[in-house]
Symmetry: C2
Subunit: 284 residues, 2 copies
DNA sequence: TCAATAGTGTCTCTAAGACAGTATGTG
DNA sequence: CACATACTGTCTTAGAGACACTATTGA
């Protein structure tokens, strides 16, 4: 591959902008491909799942990987590409996609992360309410919601974080490419994001109980929360949830009174925040 | 997955991975270029400055822009590309670069953000102590630390945030491309990041006083803080700063006792955090 | 009837912020 | 001296968490 990008400096003074644009040949640059990969998270039966596809083509054929694909050059921006990929892999239509929160996570660009060529991937993070089973897209052998707890997230030589690291052959039970590192970063982001934003509600339907919301936090943070304190805290944050006046039709499966129903409020940030209990070990 | 990219699916069954790799032609993809752009922030005379270059070549010739350049395909990852661009534009050597905090900010990929072709830019954010005046790199007419307050950050048709939006011709006093939006996102990130991390110390030299540190917060947040409460709060956060036993040689320019000197501690997160005062307006 | 759950009350402790006060410098 | 600044003490209040308690439902 060329070592340098073409440098027009030698004759730049003689070219005005029009001429320069006309003379420009994008193919002269060393080729780079750009993909978007989506970490779509959802809760199914109170368990955190991630949307994965089984690769039908090499490299990593037969491996599970994050859904994603190449950005259509000149036709779409990154957000659009991510939404398109998510729709294609889940079979979810555009209307249902509006109920999904989609945000950019970070970009991964190690030259060795894809054996074919230098592929730079822009990772996205999606929070979805329980969606129908996915139907595989055109270049996937299968697509499924996979419990996060069943995955091997030890990223090995891929040390997490955007940037890029050394390529490593896939390990049994692991994900293709550096997708384990991307998923790990997505989980970190999700755990942090529900502290300061009402995005935990994006995992729930339109109406939910405080207990439903607590189950989201408990599953994503991986620890039990105090039901009474959680209840009072959620209701004390202005704009987090809003009562509907309705209640559940029945009590819980193991008894208890009917719970009041809420829907998402209009706050975009939680103040005060719902901070995770004690994480002293993460400070250093 | 992509409709435009070459699709091996029709014969994928006959090709083993080796053959497929050999047959692969990256040039068949629609061309996309990837750049890194760096928002390097520093404090000079207690005022926040950003490193900008004056473009010597079209497009946006003569405009100020963020330092950046094309990723060298196959040769470097994104973090390395950002560090290289920063070094090239500032003339800072690798040793001094180690004192600079560099993190990925987000990627910007509107098809119209560069008139030449679809250019996807991975933006980085750098926090630097007061560095020497930059010397312009090879494709910049000039390079300078510019006070952030002197810039027009009304991003107009470029609505901030990663993703990508419509191209708009440059406005007088504005930055090239969508760099105003990138800078605005960088400032938001910086304001948030110094709440939870000790990164404000990255703007200071090895030794500093609590007042120096307070000046960093006041300048980045754009509001005065209570000196006494700030002092006590900083010292109460474990691992934020560490006393050196030394003091300044003289009192302040307008009097007062000599201040004790500190250096950065080993905490990576501040607990408790130094939250910004009252931001109720930002919640919705 | 028992057990589980929804929702509330209360107590303690931490930390934020307002304010005051003392010591130590500079001009 | 006058004044700015470094640093500390104290008071009030908000919020987190532990715990207890009542009411309501299902099995």
């Amino acid at each position: 591959m060329p070592t340098q990008s073409p440098r027009p400096e030698s004759n730049q003074e003689q070219l005005d902008e029009q001429a320069w644009l006309a003379a420009y040949d994008p193919r002269a640059f060393a080729p780079v491909a750009v993909t978007v990969d989506v970490v779509a998270l959802t809760l199914r039966q109170d368990e955190l799942h991630v949307l994965l596809v089984e690769r039908a083509a090499p490299p990593y054929r037969g491996c599970w990987a994050l859904p994603g694909g190449f950005v259509r050059a000149g036709q779409e921006d990154l957000d659009q590409a991510a939404a398109r990929e998510l729709a294609e892999e889940t079979g979810v239509d555009t209307a249902a996609l509006r109920r999904v929160h989609l945000e950019q996570l970070g970009s991964y660009g190690s030259p060795q992360r894809d054996p074919r060529m230098h592929v730079i991937s822009v990772a996205y993070l999606a929070f979805a309410p329980d969606l129908p089973a996915p139907r595989p897209g055109t270049d996937a052998a299968a697509a499924a919601w996979v419990p996060v707890s069943s995955l091997d997230l030890a990223v090995g030589p891929h040390r997490g974080g955007p940037g890029g690291h050394t390529h490593h052959p896939v390990r049994p039970g692991g994900l293709a490419f550096d997708h384990a590192a991307i998923l790990a970063a997505a989980l970190d982001r999700a755990r942090a994001k529900i502290e300061y934003t009402p995005l935990a509600t994006a995992f729930l339907g339109g109406e939910f109980t405080i207990s439903d919301l607590r189950a989201v936090y408990e599953e994503i943070w991986g620890e039990k929360l105090h039901p009474g304190n959680f209840h009072r805290k959620v209701l004390s944050v202005p704009g987090f949830v809003e009562g509907t006046g309705r209640t559940t039709a029945h009590g819980g499966s193991r008894g208890g009174p009917r719970a009041r129903l809420y829907h998402r409020g209009d706050a975009r940030l939680l103040h005060p925040a719902l901070l995770r209990p004690d994480r002293e070990e993460e400070i250093r």
